[in-house]
């Protein structure tokens, strides 16, 4: 997927899966997602779509929609070109990356 995009690699000790992050350079949740991956020493590649040529960006958005049946929003995590999640919700990322859940209180959940 995304053959026309030059992704930026980030090294990590956990590199058994091919992780790609589609992000915006201006987005707080995208930054938070990158921090999450780096905290867990996960090797990944990222691209800031807002810095791409508009035609390349449009093609990437269409490819994502064709492949996964949902519109691209940010950040989007793509694993082995077969699984994805959009938005940064730590618990979903932990599930997708097969990591144990850290303590997290979701909206509407009690802390007790």
């Amino acid at each position: 997927m995304f053959d026309s995009i030059a992704f930026h690699p980030v090294a990590g000790t956990e590199d058994r899966r091919h992780i790609r992050l589609l992000a915006l350079s201006t987005c707080g949740f995208c930054r938070r997602g990158q921090e999450f991956l780096e905290k867990h020493h996960i090797a990944y590649e990222y691209v800031h779509l807002d810095t791409l040529d508009p035609e390349v960006k449009a093609a990437a958005k269409q490819e994502f929609k064709d492949k996964f049946g949902v519109g691209l929003s940010y950040p989007a995590l793509v694993i082995d070109d077969t699984e994805q999640t959009v938005g940064y919700v730590k618990r979903f990322w932990e599930d997708l990356l097969r990591l144990p859940h850290e303590d997290e209180v979701s909206p509407g959940e009690s802390r007790d």
Binding site: L24, S25, T26, C27, G28, F29, C30, R31, R32, L49, D50, P54, K57, K61, G71, L72, S73, Y74, P75, V86, G87, Y88, V89, K90, V105, S106, P107, E109
Partner: protein, 105 residues
Amino acid sequence: MTELTDPAAARRYAVQVARHRGWVVNPDSGLTDTILEGLVTQNTRFGKPFCPCRDIDGTEADRDVVCPCRYAAADIAECGQCYCGLFLSVEKDPETVRSIPERRP
């Protein structure tokens, strides 16, 4: 052009908006600082402080996502936060801020 030339000016703008709308600016600086820098970038690119968490072209069609976006009030009423997490309801626990579903059509 809104004069959001640096993050400090963007913060003043956000505080002013929040005060006017009965919201608060997210006190989580780890998230908010990136958003404020993003607002400055958007303002520099397009002449308006478009939502930094949305992929936009800066055209008239994106007018609905100039910060505060048209969907912020509904998102804050329903989820306690706006889409990018900059603005919160008074009651919202900042630790629970996360990506929420896109309301924009």
